[in-house]
């Protein structure tokens, strides 16, 4: 493993295999918390924080606890517990020691436990047999891809509030159609290989 291969892995996780536009991981917060660029950025940063730490934590749990005991089949249960505990812990830690960051990210943290992007990145890390460094980089860059998507999309949506669509399309349908158009743009990245 070289520095270059890690860089490629990160590039591919951010753009080519973007969690939202090519894999649909994390669509709920993507469609739900993207009305305003500021909140979208907050959510994206909170996800990035949790996913990087959880990438490392679940890797450790899998390789030091589940694999030696041949309990691989319990990974979904174990990972979701680790993620839930981690989110709780991060919330308490930020509340106690970094209040500024807590006031910025605090309200998004509880939502992250049920964000499928976090669980799927943990499961993908195991499936792709990444080592520790790759696992952390993958978690971090997949979350960056998520942040990129949600912030761009929030920018689009904040402009859409001015639009006057037919009544049936108001709200969610229009949001989905806009997401479809953005997904088309992102599909240009798929197939980029080195």
């Amino acid at each position: 493993m070289t520095f270059g291969s890690v860089l490629l892995l990160m590039f591919s996780a951010i753009l080519v295999e973007n969690f939202i536009f090519s894999k649909f991981y994390g669509c709920c917060p993507f469609l739900g918390v993207s009305e305003h660029p500021d909140t979208a950025l907050g959510m994206g940063m909170a996800v990035t924080f949790v996913m990087t730490v959880s990438g490392a934590a679940t890797w450790a749990v899998y390789h030091f606890f589940l694999a030696p005991l041949h309990l691989e089949y319990l990974k979904t249960v174990a990972f979701i517990l680790v993620i839930a505990a981690l989110v709780q812990f991060i919330e308490m830690f930020l509340h106690r020691f970094v209040p500024a960051l807590y006031s910025a990210l605090g309200i998004y943290l509880p939502l992250i436990t049920t964000n499928c992007a976090v669980l799927s990145s943990a499961l993908l890390i195991v499936q792709k047999e990444y080592n520790f460094v790759e696992a952390v980089c993958f978690g971090f860059s997949a979350a960056l891809g998520f942040t990129l998507a949600i912030v761009i999309f929030a920018g689009l949506r904040s402009r859409m509030t001015m639009a006057d669509p037919p009544r049936a399309f108001k709200g969610f349908p229009l949001t989905l159609i806009a997401a479809g158009l953005l997904a088309m743009a992102f599909s240009c990245f798929s197939g980029v290989q080195f």
Binding site: Y73, L74, V77, S190, G191, Q193
Partner: protein, 174 residues
């Protein structure tokens, strides 16, 4: 008051632990019941892939390494078979590659892939003639022209065939 809250926390923790233990027990039970059937499925998939290549059933497969087989039928050597994976457009393409007794490629069958339906998937599932370019090739430098419109799938196929060939060569020590 103090002791009561400590007791309370312990009780809550204990209940949660109990739920976890019961869930883990149930899952382990299901695992124990289903594991053999899952392994059978895996074996069947590989066996079917090999049988599709050699066009015969009732083959004897002798494992030379992980997913590398010596294929015999009633004692007679028919050839070899090895699994290879390559990265296509949508992810990994897993393929079984069959060789005749002189190590030239006899057939290819796809085990799993996640290519785009209608584009890459059509190449792998319906357009079997594409694989004919590989037939009869041998050695590590297998090659075929990319299929236009599905360049990345073609690249993935090439990488998988190459990996299978290399693994077979390594396993036989030649």
């Amino acid at each position: 008051m103090e002791t009561k809250s400590v007791k309370n926390i312990l009780l809550v923790g204990l209940k949660l632990l109990l739920i976890c233990a019961v869930v883990a027990g149930v899952v382990s039970f299901v695992y124990a019941v289903t594991e053999s059937d899952y392994q059978k499925n895996l074996d069947t998939t590989k066996r079917e892939a090999v049988e599709a290549i050699f066009g015969e059933t009732g083959l004897d497969l002798y494992e030379l390494g992980e997913d590398i087989y010596e294929v015999k039928k009633s004692g007679k050597l028919l050839g070899y078979s090895a699994k290879g994976t390559g990265i296509g457009f949508g992810g990994e393409i897993e393929m079984m590659v069959g060789y005749d007794a002189t190590f030239s490629i006899k057939g290819i069958s796809v085990i799993s892939h996640s290519e785009t339906p209608g584009i890459g998937a059509t190449l792998l599932e319906e357009n079997k003639t594409y694989f004919e370019a590989y037939m009869g090739q041998s050695g590590e430098d297998v090659d075929a022209d990319a299929y236009s419109g599905a360049t990345y799938t073609s690249k993935g196929v090439k990488a998988a065939v190459k990996e299978a060939t290399e693994r077979l060569i390594a396993a036989l020590g030649k």
